[in-house]
């Protein structure tokens, strides 16, 4: 997979993940172009389109479009499946996910994606494992955060 974009029906980008190094300018250009093309398509049309030398696989979930670019030889259906799996993961993590969850916790959305895909390839096919990894990382994060707070608290005491 070359990249994944999430955008809203209004064409606002909600998430972007690039597995090929591109300059910001190119990224912006590609994003703009794709958002336009995909949004222009009617609901009954098929989820695949050929674009430049890539294939675009997209799917709409509520107000969000999930859009992946894959290479010519890649399998479209498995890409759809990947999108779906990602949505399932988000859903499990946030508990019936909505667009706002992704907007306000975009870093979490990225972390989940990173646990699921790495370098454009599926890293973990088990939903359970992905969520477990995220939970544990979150736990670790909370721990260090509380540690941080408690430390600053100690510092506070010492200062007086």
């Amino acid at each position: 997979m070359q990249f994944m974009l999430l955008f809203s029906r209004q064409g606002k980008l909600r998430l972007q993940k690039w597995y090929v190094p591109l300059s910001d300018k190119e990224k912006k250009k590609i994003t703009r172009e794709l958002v336009q093309t995909v949004l222009a398509r009617k609901p009954k049309m098929c989820s695949f389109l050929e674009w430049r030398d890539l294939k675009i696989v997209y799917k709409r979930y509520a107000s969000l479009y999930f859009c992946c670019a894959i290479e010519d030889q890649d399998n479209e259906l498995i890409t759809l499946e990947i999108i779906h799996r990602y949505v399932e993961l988000l859903d499990k993590y946030f508990g019936s996910v909505c667009e706002l969850d992704i907007i306000f916790n975009f870093e979490k959305a990225y972390f989940i994606l990173d646990e699921f895909l790495l370098g454009g390839e599926v890293q973990e096919t088990s939903k359970k494992n992905v969520l477990k990894a995220i939970e544990q990382a979150d736990l670790l994060q909370e721990k260090t955060e509380t540690m941080y707070h408690s430390k600053s608290f100690i510092g506070y005491k010492k200062a007086y």
Binding site: T31, S47, I78, A137, G155
Partner: protein, 1140 residues
């Protein structure tokens, strides 16, 4: 300090966090840009603060802004700062920001190398995880090279979580640094059989991607994958494996047969589920490439009847794959496919078009193209129409016009296509016209007549609003009319058409062709007139030329101008001669004498070099400033230009001539000096009015055609049917009869070999094989590969044993000399290699020893503690450290053990003790991040039967070396080890030390305290140890080139010292290896029994050695920028050597 922190956290309360930012943006819908620029200012303020939490928050917000499209490249450095935070919370944010915003052009990216290396070796798997994830997004060739070895080590990490990430990221590393593939491949292969399914699937993914690009290197893995395929239940993995087999089967046909059974099983088992047909087609698509699987097409049809759009699309896609192997089974679905052309989804239509391409035959070509033409008319949207147009042309011209039986029909199709409005593909049509006219001799007459009518209606084409596209056709038309002017029915008429004032509105390069071909036409008219004896007629033509040419002379396009003025003078001259009644036609037409023969594009390359001809030999000694050989094609062109006015040389080198013409044509088409001027819009408006009034298109041509006016291709379809009918009726006499009927039906090759009834004889044949290729052309198709293919570099034979030179660089420092003397680069590398085998041996030995001891002890007493040390040193930037840990007798047993991948040294220091502490292993890494910091990673392994917990490590600081402790803890506090150890388990803990001066060796005393808990209760235990930092451990193996080395010695600011050791019997080679190994030197140069060696300290001291071996002794002379360091080093070296 504490105050500052408090201040930081108070400040933080007033900072916006991410949620506030997002909310703010949503609340400022009208003046978003203003709001954001205000936010960015705030963020900049926040980034200036020392508090890492504030910074991380700022970076997090920046990441969000980056997604909205704002440039955050200015904050790259701050991102790195956050990445290097020790708290996971911040590190995570830092890496996220980096992975979103860094790319190969980010210059600070090289600063991350050491941070990433540190995180990769972090004891926390999540630290390592985020580092790997981040790295996968922004890995550059440099990063790949520097970190390949670290990542490779991680592939054998104890945690599957890390293993799978490491395996996946290796693919990215391979792409950036192909040299790493061979050394890493064996381990990758191992991972295919990893107990963890995640790791296994990651390995399958990577190998599948690799194999897809260069399948032949992976054939040997087929049995392994076959096993995986039959045993795995993970569909994701299965699909990848099938895809891999798709790539492998074309190379090994036997594989295909073997696969049929498991695949059919799969299809049936998957077919039961809910996504039944989905999965089926997924499987089909992966496999159908090259597999003898007939069931494929049977399955696809129901899928397509089901007709949800994605399935329709995939059905078509699958068909196009099947088409390659089983064209017949697809052709029966022609109607379905044509229906798909009406689908409202463009992707489906395009797929259907692709299929049509493969489906045409001589029989149905006309019919299919006719259908396509109706679609062209109906199509809305230029993109799709353009696509249709190109497809029509592709379909017709495929495999050398194989399916075209009637070129008149084809030409008329092309002419019809010119009426398309606003197409971008004018040049494509033009190229086809030229190609057909040149290569199909029999069609020229017809082509010329069509072209002349096109020229006649040129104003129509040229005046349409999107003129730039289709008017390219005029280029071809003008050229064809000029070149084959002898076929023109009314040359005079055409000449006038070409000289119309409106022509000047055309783009420059087309005008230029017009001018050139006007003369050709003129020449042929002149000849006709003179032969007919119409001197007046001839003069009238000349007069026409003289009158009209000046309009081109005024052209803004240089090429047009130049050609026109040249020709104008020529014509004026002719006029003078004509006035004197001199016959000129002969000479004028000699300008363009010579026939144009088609030459295949690669023909020149394929001419075999005659024996005895050395193409590389100089004919004359080269002039100082002569043109290079490469410019030959151009030279040919110039030469040809010069001699054009002359008479053509003899027929003998007709081929040569043809080539030059081709070259000329090419040149005209490619000439960058043909600046395409677009006339000012004003002018255009003046010219265009009244277009509607100009009678066009329906011109009655007095060409002996069966079709009046511009022939419609449809009529050809009918004609063709008739023709075929006739063919059938008069099978025997067919050829002769047809030749009479359609004069153009002359075929160059009298008879075709045995035609079946199916086979329809074409009316005209394309010359290609016979004429366009030189005799004894070599049947080669090399150089078809794209040299820019990034995957090509990965085409590596993986079965060959690994050569020494290919091993991954363990630690490489870029130094200035690299570019200067790269040819010597392999010296230090080779040197390094030699260490490896030895170490392994040692390892084995030790292991054996350990085991024995353990057994012994276990017999004796309570649980046997053992401490094992793994040392690994990593230098970052310029830091290296070796440590040996000693344990005083009475506590445990320490045994050094050499570690993975040739990481530096190891001193086995077995010590035994009485109580029952946990054995451990330590792994030392220098860290780059801050000056003179060293990370000591200690692997603690519990060899006892108790559970060990509450471990704390305390070290007595010396003046020079200090352990870095968590904030707020005092010097005497121990550093807690963040885990417990059940019996038989090992884990790694990291401790950081700060070292002030490196010129002297250091020893640090330390204690590991812990609670051992077993069935009998818990006991508090202690284990003392000593950390030894030798001077050698501050050295970094740095390759040095002899030129740089010599310079260094000459510089004179190094102090000198020497030692001599007697009684050495070891071979010199081994001796050097030992020095390299234990003291981190690299050999610069070796002559007989004398070698120069070099190394650098982490603080940048240069150390040069000259090692000489005498009979039974070795002398070492050293030079170093610090004398204390040198003498200490030499002392250490003496100890090492004395042991030899």
């Amino acid at each position: 300090m504490a105050l500052k922190m408090v201040k930081g956290s108070i400040d933080r309360m007033f900072d916006k966090n991410l949620q506030d930012l997002v909310r703010g943006i949503r609340n400022h819908k009208e003046d978003e840009a203003k709001y954001i620029s205000q936010c960015i200012d705030e963020i900049k303020q926040e980034l200036k603060q020392d508090n890492i939490a504030v910074k991380a928050n700022a970076v997090c917000k920046l990441t969000y802004l980056q997604m909205l499209g704002y440039d955050i490249s200015w904050a790259a450095f701050n991102i790195i700062e956050v990445m290097s935070a020790s708290k996971f919370t911040f590190k995570r944010i830092g890496y996220l920001a980096a992975s979103q915003s860094f790319h190969e052009g980010t210059d600070v990216i090289m600063l991350t190398t050491n941070q990433i290396r540190k995180d990769l070796s972090s004891p926390s798997q999540y630290d390592t995880g985020v580092a790997l994830t981040g790295l996968s997004c922004f890995v550059t060739p440099d990063l790949a090279r520097d970190l390949a070895n670290d990542i490779m080590t991680l592939m054998s990490h104890t945690k599957p979580y890390i293993r799978k990430k490491a395996v996946l990221i290796m693919y990215k590393v391979f792409l950036k640094y192909p040299e790493s593939l061979r050394p890493a491949f064996p381990r990758l292969k191992e991972k295919l059989e990893d107990p963890d399914p995640g790791v296994q699937s990651a390995a399958v993914n990577v190998i599948c991607e690799l194999a897809r690009r260069n399948p032949k290197n992976y054939l040997s893995l087929a049995p392994l994958f076959f096993k995986l395929m039959t045993s795995s239940t993970n569909n994701w993995v299965l699909i990848k494996i099938i895809k891999l087999f798709g790539a492998l089967t074309p190379l090994e046909p036997r594989l295909g047969k073997k696969l049929i059974e498991p695949l059919t099983n799969l299809i049936h088992s998957v077919g039961a589920g809910r996504g039944a047909d989905r999965a089926v087609s997924a499987v089909l698509i992966s496999l159908s490439s090259g597999m003898p699987n007939h069931s494929a097409s049977i399955q696809v049809r129901p899928a397509r009847a089901g007709a949800s759009p994605p399935l329709k699309y995939l059905g078509l896609l699958a068909m196009s794959k099947i088409l390659k192997t089983h064209p017949k089974s697809v052709q029966s679905h022609k109607d379905l496919i044509l229906q798909c052309l009406d689908d409202k989804d463009e992707s489906i239509r395009l797929r259907a078009l692709d299929l049509l391409y493969g489906m045409v035959s001589k029989k149905n070509l006309m019919e299919i193209v006719k259908k396509l033409m109706t679609h062209v008319d109906k199509a809305e949207g230029t993109t799709y129409r353009d696509e249709l147009l190109t497809k029509i042309i592709d379909i017709c011209s495929q495999s050398n016009y194989q399916y075209i039986t009637n070129f008149e029909w084809y030409i008329s199709i092309l002419v019809e296509l010119t009426r398309l409005e606003g197409t971008r593909h004018g040049h494509l049509i033009a190229a086809q016209m030229l190609d057909v006219a040149i290569r199909v001799k029999a069609i020229r007459k017809f082509a010329v007549s069509q072209m002349s009518s096109l020229l006649d209606s040129a104003h129509l084409l040229a005046s349409s609003t999107q003129r730039n596209g289709i008017c390219e056709v005029l280029y071809a038309a003008a050229w064809i009319c000029g070149e084959f002017s002898e076929h023109l029915q009314e040359p005079h008429h055409t000449l006038e058409a070409m000289l119309r004032p409106k022509v000047t509105t055309l783009p420059g390069h087309i005008q230029a062709v017009y001018v050139q071909n006007v003369v050709k036409l003129y020449a042929s008219i002149l000849q006709q007139k003179e032969q007919a004896g119409e001197a007046e007629g001839a003069q009238a033509v000349t007069q026409l030329m003289v009158d009209r040419l000046p309009q081109f002379v005024q052209s803004a396009d240089l090429e047009v101008q130049e050609r026109a003025s040249c020709i104008l003078q020529l014509v004026k001259h002719i006029q003078k001669l004509q006035a004197k009644d001199v016959p000129v036609a002969e000479e004028v037409s000699a300008l363009f004498a010579g026939e144009l023969n088609p030459v295949a594009p690669k023909a020149q390359k394929k001419v075999p070099v005659p024996e005895g001809l050395d193409l590389d030999a100089w004919i004359n000694e080269p002039l100082s400033d002569s043109e290079s050989e490469d410019e030959r094609p151009r030279a040919v062109f110039h030469e040809e230009e010069q001699r054009r006015p002359k008479h053509r040389p003899s027929e003998a080198d007709e081929e040569e001539l043809a080539r030059r013409r081709e070259a000329r044509k090419q040149e005209q088409a490619n000439n960058p000096f043909y600046i395409k001027s677009s006339p000012s819009p004003q002018k255009r408006y003046q010219d265009t009015p009244g277009v509607e009034h100009i009678p066009v298109v329906q011109i009655d041509l007095s060409v002996p055609l069966k079709v009046p006016g511009l022939p419609m291709s449809d009529q050809y379809v009918k004609l063709e049917e008739e023709r075929r009918h006739q063919q059938k009726l008069e099978k025997d006499k067919r050829r002769k009869k047809r030749k009479e009927k359609e004069r153009k039906g002359k075929r160059r090759h009298g008879s075709l070999p045995t035609e079946s009834d199916e086979d329809i004889a074409p009316a005209q044949q394309v010359d290609i094989v016979t004429e366009e290729m030189p005799e004894n052309a070599l049947p080669s198709d090399e150089d078809d590969k794209d040299p820019n293919d990034p995957y090509r570099a990965l085409d590596i034979d993986l079965d060959k044993p690994l050569a020494d030179s290919e091993k991954l660089p363990i630690q490489k420092h870029r130094n200035a000399e690299t570019s200067k003397s790269p040819e010597k680069e392999d010296v230090p590398v080779a040197e390094k290699k030699s260490k490896k085998p030895k170490k392994k041996e040692k390892k084995h030995k030790e292991k054996g020893r350990d085991k024995e001891k353990k057994k012994e002890k276990e017999k004796k007493k309570s649980p046997k503690p053992r401490k094992k040390k793994h040392k690994k040193e990593k230098e970052e930037r310029s830091k290296g450290r070796k440590k040996s840990k000693k344990q005083p007798p009475g506590s445990g047993e320490v045994a050094g053990e050499p570690v993975h991948n040739g990481a530096p040294e190891e001193e086995p220091l077995p010590v035994r003790g009485t109580s029952a502490p946990p054995p451990h292993t330590c792994d030392v890494r220098g860290s780059l991040q801050e000056d003179s910091q060293v990370t000591v990673a200690i692997v603690l392994e519990n060899r006892s039967s108790s559970v060990l917990k509450g471990m704390e490590l305390s070290v007595l600081d010396s003046l020079n070396a200090r352990m870095t402790r968590p904030q707020g803890s005092s010097v005497h506090d121990g550093v807690p080890v963040p885990f417990q150890l059940p019996p038989g388990v090992s884990n790694e803990a990291q401790f950081v030390f700060t070292i002030q001066s490196i010129v002297m060796a250091q020893k640090l005393k330390g204690t590991l305290s812990f609670i051992a808990k077993n069935d009998e209760g818990a006991t508090q235990e202690k284990l003392d140890f000593r950390l030894h930092f030798s001077c050698s451990s501050y050295l970094i193996t740095t390759p040095c080139y002899s030129d740089a080395f010599a310079k260094l010695l000459e510089s004179g600011d190094l102090s000198m010292s020497s030692v001599k050791v007697d009684g050495i019997r070891m071979s010199f080679q081994n001796l050097l290896a030992k020095i390299c190994f234990h003291h981190h030197f690299s050999v610069v140069e070796r002559v007989d029994s004398c070698a120069s060696m070099y190394s650098r300290s982490i603080q940048g001291h240069h150390v040069c050695l000259l090692v000489k071996k005498g009979e039974n002794s070795v002398s070492v002379d050293g030079k170093c920028s610090d004398s204390t360091l040198l003498s200490n080093l030499l002392e250490e070296m003496k100890v090492t050597l004395a042991k030899c």
